[in-house]
């Protein structure tokens, strides 16, 4: 980092001031002494004082103008606090006080010697020298000490009446007042200058600390894309010392292709004056390609002109590779999940196949049991007594029940096997056909049925036929004890989704047991009231669920039951095993 230009300005101003002031001190009083009359000396002395004040004020004006204005914000105060505590290169406080006292005393000594040659004028102007030096070095305090010491000493030693603080002559008083005012002004201005310098230095150091310690590469270039500034990270990236970088452009720092790209981006920034963040592939001096997230923007000078550009580049190669790793892991995980799911599905399918085969294989022995009982009844009835015939009848009954169970289980298992077709199914037609069949089977039952026309659903026709058959068979069965049975099929809702309902005014059931309603082999009525296997509703629910739909039941014991199911129009449920 270079020394700010304003510091040079301050030095020049101060040195010029010191030289001019000293020259003035040695010349002006000598000039004055050439005038004999008192009036002229007084007026010239006043003019001399005014001139001196004007000159020193001008010098301070120029010195201070180049220093940033003090701000009264919280940040400014914080900076002041930091400046007094942390500011680097500060001289010990006592040294500046000591210096002020010493140099003032030294000047007093010089003045006493000079007064021998010059006669007896107060020769106050010489004291501006120690006052200014003290103020510049130590700020307000030492400046004021020097001023006070000079004023008191001159008053006591040089101004008549001597060896007293009283002042007899009003011209002397005026001169002394000038000295004090000048001294105070110089002290105050010096203090302001000192604080500003300290703050500027602190700002610079803070900025420098941030820029040099960040792992991001930071650089500033001029309008020709030559480096004006490059931090340690930028130097490491280029693989060159700072001296080799400053004043050069990217073409000597990076491989050709990379340099061309980077300089093209620089030109774009310089041309548009807009800040731009982008991901860059940079091939470094070692030949490795790294990924950077780079922000480039214009450096705006006076009058809003683009005078250069800055850039901050962060190496995100590790991030990127970590992300890639994570993606790979995720993909692997997804694959593992898919594999496990497939394994599970396969195991499930195997189990269902086993259940199916098992159930299926029960048929042959069952047929033998019922068949041979039947043979006994048909062919050997004469040799069997009543008790034996009763037993045979029970065997026939039991094997018939078991046959129904087996068929039910097979139907239940079948509804999750095979492909699930999705077609538009006319539920009204299915319902009408099933009810017609039921009426045909039991022509003596007087049942009123009401099927809403045009009910349709999306699903597998055969399976939905099974659903409607079970629901309507149930309605038919459970209205057996009802005097005026009514079965209705109508459009309804399931969990706020459009669905289809089947209702009856039959036996109903207690809703307390509704949660088990759809479990296999779960029955709501005694076998001697309403016979059944308890598989029908389990099958219905399995089919509806496989379609991605839902089924609900509402019932009141003795007043009937309503079953509503929904079938999503789109691709709802899973395909089950195939």
């Amino acid at each position: 980092m270079t020394t700010p230009a304003r510091n040079r300005y301050v030095v020049v101003a101060c040195v010029s001031y010191a030289v001019l002031a000293l020259a003035w001190i040695f010349l002006s009083d000598r000039l004055l002494s050439t005038f004999a009359d008192m009036e002229s000396i007084v007026s010239l002395s006043t003019a001399k004082g005014v001139f001196f004040v004007c000159a020193s004020t001008t010098a301070f004006f120029f010195a201070l103008r180049s220093v940033p204005a003090a701000d009264a914000t919280g940040m400014g105060r914080l900076m002041d606090a930091l400046a007094t505590g942390v500011a680097p290169g500060r001289r010990p406080r006592w040294l500046t006080w000591f210096f002020a006292v010493t140099i003032t005393l030294a000047m007093l000594l010089v003045r006493q010697r000079l007064s021998v040659g010059f006669g007896d004028p107060p020769l106050l102007i010489v004291f501006m020298f120690p006052i200014i030096l003290s103020a510049l070095l130590g700020g307000l305090g030492p400046g004021l000490v020097s001023t006070a010491m000079a004023a008191l000493a001159v008053d006591y030693l040089a101004i008549a009446p001597q060896h007293s603080l009283r002042i007899a002559n009003s011209v002397d008083l005026l001169q002394l007042a000038f000295l004090v005012v000048n001294g105070v002004a110089v002290s105050v201005l010096s203090e302001m200058l000192r604080r500003s310098l300290i703050r500027a230095e602190l700002d610079r150091r803070l900025l420098d600390a941030v820029i040099s310690s960040t792992p991001d590469a930071v650089f500033v270039k001029d309008t020709e894309a030559r480096y004006l500034l490059a931090n340690a990270a930028a130097c490491a990236l280029a693989g060159k010392a700072r001296e080799e970088i400053i004043g050069r452009d990217d073409s000597v720092l990076f491989p050709e292709a990379t340099a061309r790209e980077m300089m093209a981006m620089d030109r774009a920034i310089l041309a548009t004056g807009r800040t731009h963040t982008t991901e860059e592939l940079v091939t470094t001096h070692t030949g490795r390609t790294r990924v950077f997230l780079g922000t480039r923007g214009p450096v705006i000078g006076e009058a809003g002109r683009v005078v250069g550009l800055f850039g901050i580049a962060r190496d995100i190669t590790e991030h990127r590779s970590a992300e890639a790793e994570l993606r790979k892991l995720n993909t692997g995980l997804e694959q593992r999940v898919a594999e496990r799911t497939a394994e599970l599905q396969s195991a499930n399918t195997e189990l269902e196949d086993l259940a199916y085969a098992l159930t299926h294989n029960l048929r042959a022995p069952l047929r033998a049991i019922s068949g041979f009982s039947q043979v006994l009844v048909e062919d050997h009835a004469g040799t069997l007594d009543t008790e034996a015939r009763k037993c045979l009848a029970q065997i026939t009954q039991a094997s018939g029940d078991m046959g129904e169970l087996i068929d039910g289980i097979l139907a239940l298992l079948r509804c999750t096997r095979g492909e699930l077709k999705r077609e538009t199914v006319d539920i009204s037609v299915l319902a009408g056909r099933r009810l017609g069949k039921l009426a045909h089977g039991e022509p003596l039952r007087q049942i009123v049925w009401d099927v809403e026309p045009g009910l349709s659903a999306t699903g597998d026709t055969e399976m939905l036929d099974v659903v409607m058959a079970h629901l309507l068979d149930n309605a038919w069965k459970f209205t057996r004890g009802t005097t005026q049975p009514v079965i209705r099929v109508f459009a309804g809702q399931v969990d706020a989704v459009a669905g289809i309902c089947v209702s009856d005014n039959g036996a109903g059931f207690d809703m307390a047991h509704a949660n088990r309603l759809f479990n296999a082999f779960q029955r709501m009525h005694r076998q001697d009231e309403f016979p059944g296997t308890g598989i029908g509703l389990a099958t219905v629910q399995r089919i509806i669920r496989r379609h991605g739909g839902e089924i609900r039941a509402e019932a009141v014991p003795g007043a009937g039951a309503t079953f509503c199911f929904s079938l999503p129009a789109g691709n709802g449920g899973n395909g089950g095993s195939s």
Partner: protein, 149 residues
């Protein structure tokens, strides 16, 4: 009336007894030969192995073929029979307890003339078997008058 003969290929002795009883009720029991596995059925039909003595004699009118058989399955037997010119047109009825759609499809694809599921209910079962016997021996006209081994 020449009723012809039936070859029943059935490995389950109870099913065999029940089928034979049902056929007997229709007075068809005398015309029934029984093979108890797929290989035996082929030997019988081609007059080979233990049935070498049958070579050159008349083939049965119809074969009632179960699918789940030991050694050679019913479908394999069906395939072999359809490949051989002697039995290419022999009426074959698949009589099985399988309700797999695949079995039914493959059966027809392999050239079965009929596919009948054994009913679980004995009454229905007996009636079905009786109907089959009467239909294939009396009602149906076979492809050849005298197909021989």
């Amino acid at each position: 009336m020449n009723r012809g003969t039936i070859l029943l290929v059935e490995d389950n002795p109870q099913d065999e007894m029940l089928i034979l009883r049902a056929l007997k009720k229709s007075n068809l029991a005398n015309n029934v030969a029984v093979a108890r596995d797929g290989q035996q059925a082929l030997d019988y039909l081609f007059g080979e192995g233990e049935f070498a003595g049958l070579a050159g004699t008349e083939l049965p009118t119809v074969v009632l073929l179960d699918i789940g058989l030991p050694r050679l399955s019913g479908l394999e037997v069906l395939e072999r029979l359809r490949k051989d010119p002697r039995t290419r047109l022999l009426p074959i009825v698949i009589l099985t307890s399988s309700d797999e759609e695949r079995d039914r499809l493959v059966s027809y694809e392999c050239g079965a003339n009929s596919f009948v599921r054994k009913p679980l209910d004995f009454g229905e079962f007996a009636a079905t078997v009786a109907r089959l016997g009467v239909y294939w021996l009396a009602t149906n006209e076979p492809p050849r008058d005298r197909a021989s081994r």
